[in-house]
Symmetry: C2
Subunit: 341 residues, 2 copies
Amino acid sequence: MAERKATSFDIAAKAGVSQSTVSRALRDSPLVNPETRARVQAIARELNYQVDRTASSLRTGNTRTLALLLFEDAPEAASPINPFFLSMLGSITKACSAHDYDLLVSFQHPEEDWYARYEEAHRADGLILLGYGDYVSAHPTLQRLADSGAHWVIWGPRLNFEHGICVGSDNALGGYLATRHLLKQGRRNIAFLGCNSEQAPEFADRYRGYGDALKEAKLVADPDLQVYAESFEDSGANAVASLLDAGLEFDALVCASDLIAIGAMHYLQDKGIDVPGEIAIVGFDDIQAAAYCSPALTTVRQDVKRAGETLVNLLLELIESGDETSRLLEPELIVRESCGS
Amino acid sequence: MAERKATSFDIAAKAGVSQSTVSRALRDSPLVNPETRARVQAIARELNYQVDRTASSLRTGNTRTLALLLFEDAPEAASPINPFFLSMLGSITKACSAHDYDLLVSFQHPEEDWYARYEEAHRADGLILLGYGDYVSAHPTLQRLADSGAHWVIWGPRLNFEHGICVGSDNALGGYLATRHLLKQGRRNIAFLGCNSEQAPEFADRYRGYGDALKEAKLVADPDLQVYAESFEDSGANAVASLLDAGLEFDALVCASDLIAIGAMHYLQDKGIDVPGEIAIVGFDDIQAAAYCSPALTTVRQDVKRAGETLVNLLLELIESGDETSRLLEPELIVRESCGS
DNA sequence: CAATGGCTTGCATACGTATTCACGCTGGCG
DNA sequence: CGCCAGCGTGAATACGTATGCAAGCCATTG
């Protein structure tokens, strides 16, 4: 069957009506006689007719498609994708399906001038930007995007652009919950892994929450126990190693991400240190691996399903009504084994 | 800037040439004078002009877009996506980017009549089908797709359709490698978890490889040690529980997927049984969590990166030259801790 | 009986691009 | 000096759909 695809004209001919009527009938327009509509729709089914979305988009000006732009630190094909973003991708895809929208997915080299490609090229009605803060929000082209009147949402901390909206977790609250829980367990020397990240400004908020919880407990955070880490296992291992090497006393770790936590946990276990017996650990994100490792990782869950739905819903409302506001989602502490409860 | 988007006519006016010339210049046609071309391109840049892909597609008949259809057992938004497919999604996305193609991602309810939506509706030039075998390959609409002359590739075991090509792992080889390795470690009572899966026919090939390795070692597979499981943690736990409850002797598990292996491993650990001391475990897939669990899981890696590239490359060649053949990819044994090496 | 209005339908056009066809101009050659 | 070749350009059109506008028909009403 290399035959030409059926068009609305073919249906029109077969139904003995005009192409306009076919178009209206297929879109359930009230203008067309119910009988005619039924006849046209029957013929359309019979011919396996599908509206040509390309032509339809050209005519109507909208694509019923959203574009997801993923910003990764290392966009080479070799590197694995951050598992948290991968889950977000899954939930966003499902949220789009639910609204009968299609989703274009694409990786972006942060250095590239990605600004124009999608909305400009009339490929999508709106954009979802996903990636660790600095790689996206500090990008000069984001300003251009904001100025362009395009429809977009971004995952991450709130930004001050006139157009475009932000959806993110309340990272400070998350850091606070993690730390308070450890304090309730009686831990007193709590270190924080993930300060001064260049990669992820959201870590700074988590760190702030950690400080708040200590302050509330009338404790002073020991500056030596607050160390740098990025969201990789290696980095978590290095961070905890530096603490051990310095001979510091600590009985718990609040980690700015699960990858850091898992790296740190494995390092401690390799050194024969019991987790959570000697050192309790709390992570952040609740990636899938958090539940699988031993001991299972207590962590601050960012509800990926709700996040994806929120991003998509807000973007669609923004497209339709043009008016929406940024949102902050509440994270949730998931207590497993690594915190010693 | 709510202004109208610039069109090729705007550029034409500004450059003092016709729209035809603009179109040719932007596509680097040799027909147009190099000077004119440079001038036109400069103006296009200046106006932030982007070719309207919708109109372009309508005219040329191709979209430079592929569609990825993901078939999941439980398409409700609540359920998490199988991590192996999620990684494939990532690698396919990257492979498309590398070819400057866009990727449409969409979940499919297996019961639905998904056949027509993409190529038919002129949304994509080709289709990639991804999901556990039966949900896709046994579907009646796949036959319609195969008959329709559409361009598509499917991940999984080879199928006999006239059109369309299959890319999959050599699952039998994988099962063989896993089992042979355990035999080399001196294990003799090796159970297999994942027989008779309704979900995943590829498990049957893995099981066959397991049998081949035993036969090669002149061992007879104990039928009691070959149990049913689907690719969920719970199912793995149940499977190994049934072995323990039956009081059977075994010193190793070959699992048809990593999720099964992780479920089984945790169950054994809960019962105070040492892995790999008393029981060695090998999984299949090499999902991210395999490296993170304790002990780290020895597993048969399906090279997700190469798989994604192969799917995309073959599909593109199929679209362009119309002639390609199915491929079988070699899996690789990744030795970690859970096998007791 | 004429006028009005509601209900259906068809005609014509626009969306923005890519490409076929035709044409004008320049220079070389007979 | 005239003709032809070839390069560069423009005019016109097609891709398939959605929709504003106009018109036809029938029934109702004054």
